[in-house]
């Protein structure tokens, strides 16, 4: 769909030149300006926090009014692309870093390097900036991120007597496999892997075992190569499903939320989920259900895992880039970043916000998540052009077949690497 849209966009450019002049901004004769902020916040607490912050900005900045625009994660890419082509894009854009590459390379987003205040640049760690850096430019401010964690049924864990992992002493992948076998019993699986979208979960967790899969050469070109580290996570999952029967086969086709009834009902002892799924667990869990948040297993690279943080960008065509960045700076002051993070049940990227004591409470797993923040890296394929096609056409079916037992590791490697390199080559000529 994106390819079709891009073609349509190119065809429409000529018409755009005929029909439209340069886009006007939100400037006004009285000197007041209006900038539009499109937010993708969707949970009530998060929407409330965003709206409240906009209100506070507007109260203290009478000359620069911010208008809150509610966006939607569904179709955000196509909606933004149309807005960019029509010169109607919001000034401040909320999105995820893995959606930015096309917009950044397409020249739709402003390079923020010279606009960002030093405070914000210094507050956010380099590995987070890496997620929104494309071709040397910074096209978004990463501000919220979520590691994948294990959400576990406390009673089952305690009753089994297994060692409870902590961020300081996590399970290794081998230990994890053994423990899921121990937790498996009559009518119960040790783990349920919701792998409806298997690629990002596999690749992001694969960093813990040193798996990188995508390798950038000195010439800047990316090629795929698969070594033992890349196979640790896929092999563990496949063995749990096919050999040990400690992972539910039916869960492989599920989305994260679909596995929660099984977790609540004691059918699964653990489910690997994004950190923000805690909100759904807290809301939907039956009375008396005890749950805990555990770190994902560690490999040779420790607890490292890939993430695609939520970002705030500025449209290249915005006539008020300076004011837009000032608003972003306001929105991401440490105290405000904490409010946004709590509203979304995610982790802030900023060091100062992350130090807030409320994010280190053991309640609902906040402390576990906060302890993982230092291990979060840019998702392996984030800035690779052609990744969406590789993911949809090559990797998703290959991983699905591998996990279900239809193909072996050699065939998986052949498809991901050989077929994958052919796809990437088309984008890197």
């Amino acid at each position: 769909m994106r390819a079709v849209l891009r073609t349509a966009a190119a065809a429409a450019t000529a018409l755009a030149l005929l029909l439209t002049g340069c886009g006007g901004g939100g400037g006004r004769a009285d000197g007041r300006i209006t900038i539009r902020f499109q937010s993708l916040a969707w949970q009530k607490e998060s929407v409330d926090a965003n709206k409240q912050l906009v209100k506070e900005w507007n109260a203290s900045h009478p000359d620069v009014r911010v208008q809150y625009v509610q966006g939607s994660w569904d179709s955000v890419h196509d909606q933004l692309l149309t807005s960019f082509e029509g010169d109607e894009a919001p000034d401040v854009i909320h999105d995820a870093s893995d959606d930015l590459a096309d917009f950044a390379y397409g020249g739709y987003l402003a390079d923020l390097r010279t606009l960002l205040p030093d405070r914000l640049t210094a507050d956010i760690p380099q590995q987070s900036w890496q997620t929104s850096t494309f071709d040397g430019g910074v096209y978004g401010v990463p501000f919220l991120q979520e590691p994948r964690v294990l959400i576990a049924n406390t009673r089952i864990l305690k009753a089994s007597g297994v060692r409870i992992p902590t961020p300081a002493r996590p399970w290794s992948w081998t230990e994890f496999r053994r423990i899921t076998k121990e937790l498996t019993g009559k009518g119960r699986y040790g783990v349920a892997w919701p792998l409806k979208e298997p690629v990002s979960a596999t690749l992001n967790l694969g960093l813990s075992a040193g798996g990188e899969l995508f390798h950038r050469g000195a010439d800047g070109k990316v090629t795929l190569a698969m070594d033992e580290g890349d196979l640790v996570v896929p092999r563990t999952i496949r063995d749990q499903v096919g050999t040990d029967h400690s992972a539910a086969r039916t869960a492989l086709g599920m989305g994260g939320g679909d596995t929660l009834p099984g977790l609540f009902g004691g059918k699964y002892a653990m489910v690997p989920l994004g950190f923000s799924f805690r909100q759904q667990v807290a809301e939907q869990a039956p009375k008396g259900f005890e749950w805990t948040v555990l770190p994902a297993p560690a490999g040779s690279a420790g607890l490292a895992q890939g993430v695609s943080p939520q970002t705030l960008s500025v449209a290249q065509d915005s006539p008020h880039k300076k004011e837009a960045v000032e608003f972003i700076d306001f929105l991401l002051r440490p105290a405000n970043m904490v409010r946004l993070a709590k509203g979304d049940w995610m982790l802030p990227t900023g060091r100062a916000a992350l130090a807030d004591p409320s994010l280190h409470s053991p309640d609902r797993g906040w402390a576990t998540g906060a302890a993982l923040a230092g291990a979060l890296r840019s998702a392996p394929a984030q800035s690779v052009r052609g990744y969406p096609e590789w993911k949809d056409k090559v990797a998703t079916p290959a991983f699905q077949e591998y996990y279900s037992g239809a193909i072996d590791a050699a065939e998986l490697r052949k498809r991901l690497v050989q077929d994958g390199n052919r796809v990437l080559a088309r984008y890197q000529r």
């Binding site: 429409a12 969707w42 809150y68 939607s72 569904d74 009834p261 039956p286």
Partner: protein, 279 residues
């Protein structure tokens, strides 16, 4: 066929019909059930058809979290306007196309059918630019214009069938009796076309009521957004959703279409049948 065989065949028909009805009704019944379930029941491993502890909390949360009434009003304005304007434009066009057959009208009808094959994504950017030039971005009028243009070809195609189902002999008889052309159209043809016009308007209404992508792209401010766009605000990234309020809001969103169908069902049936038989 013996009476016994006939009875068995009829019973088989009823069973097949019942199965079909159950198949059709399942999503809607499940939607209603979900809308009234409290959060713990939504996460139950053994879901029940009927909520064990029915609650209105999901409806309260839906109204509390999103401006559903305002969005419904916007959808209603867009859908009713699109329905009315589409039939007002399409009816005379259909009459001319049906009564004055020529190579041009055949080609026009063919083009109308072909135009339905264009995907949304090919149209959206040029449309966006045209509407921007007309200063109709972020206005319900701009959206209504898109909906009319979008539904017009199919509305025209439907109405041509209905017009052809009205025997020209009736119009000729009225002319012989001394009725003017306009009088013939108003007093003879229009009443016979009424069911078809209602069915076509309903088609345009439902198309506009359910439409999501144009509304998402064209409407910028929350005050203007329509119901399908607001419903997506209950969805997060990677398939996460606020299921209870989403089901409650989606249930409410289906009601206008259902009510409309219930009220004018007989006219639609008549209209469909009229369009199905061509002279």
């Amino acid at each position: 066929m013996s009476p016994r065989t006939r009875g068995t065949a009829r019973a088989g028909q009823y069973v097949a019909l019942l199965c079909y009805l159950v198949f059709l009704a399942f999503p809607f019944v499940w939607l209603i059930s979900t809308a009234f379930k409290p959060a713990p029941e939504l996460g139950s491993l053994h879901p029940t058809w009927i909520p064990q502890h029915p609650t209105l909390d999901n409806f309260r949360a839906a109204f509390d979290e999103q401006p559903l009434l305002r969005a419904a009003a916007n959808s209603l304005i867009a859908a009713v306007s699109a329905g009315i304007i589409a039939v007002v434009i399409a009816t005379p066009m259909a009459y001319v196309t049906a009564r004055h057959r020529s190579r041009l009208s055949t080609a026009a009808t063919g083009w109308v059918v072909v135009s339905q094959a264009f995907p949304f994504v090919l149209l959206i950017i040029p449309l966006f630019l045209v509407l921007k030039y007309l200063h109709l971005i972020n206005t319900l009028w701009g959206l209504i214009m898109v909906y009319v243009v979008w539904s017009l070809p199919f509305a025209l195609w439907m109405l041509v069938g209905y017009v052809r189902a009205v025997p020209p002999e009736l119009e000729e008889a009225a002319a012989v009796d001394g009725a003017s052309r306009l009088r013939t159209l108003v007093s003879v043809t229009a009443p016979l076309l009424a069911p078809g016009i209602v069915a076509t308007a309903l088609f345009a209404f439902i198309t506009a009521w359910n439409e999501f992508f144009f509304a998402l792209v064209l409407l910028k401010t929350p005050e203007k957004q329509t119901l399908p766009v607001v419903l997506t605000h209950f969805l997060g990234a990677e398939g996460a959703s606020d299921l209870g309020p989403l089901a409650a809001a989606a249930f409410l969103a289906t009601l206008p279409s259902l009510v409309l169908f219930a009220v004018i069902q007989r006219r639609i049936t008549g209209g469909m049948l009229a369009g199905a038989v061509k002279s």
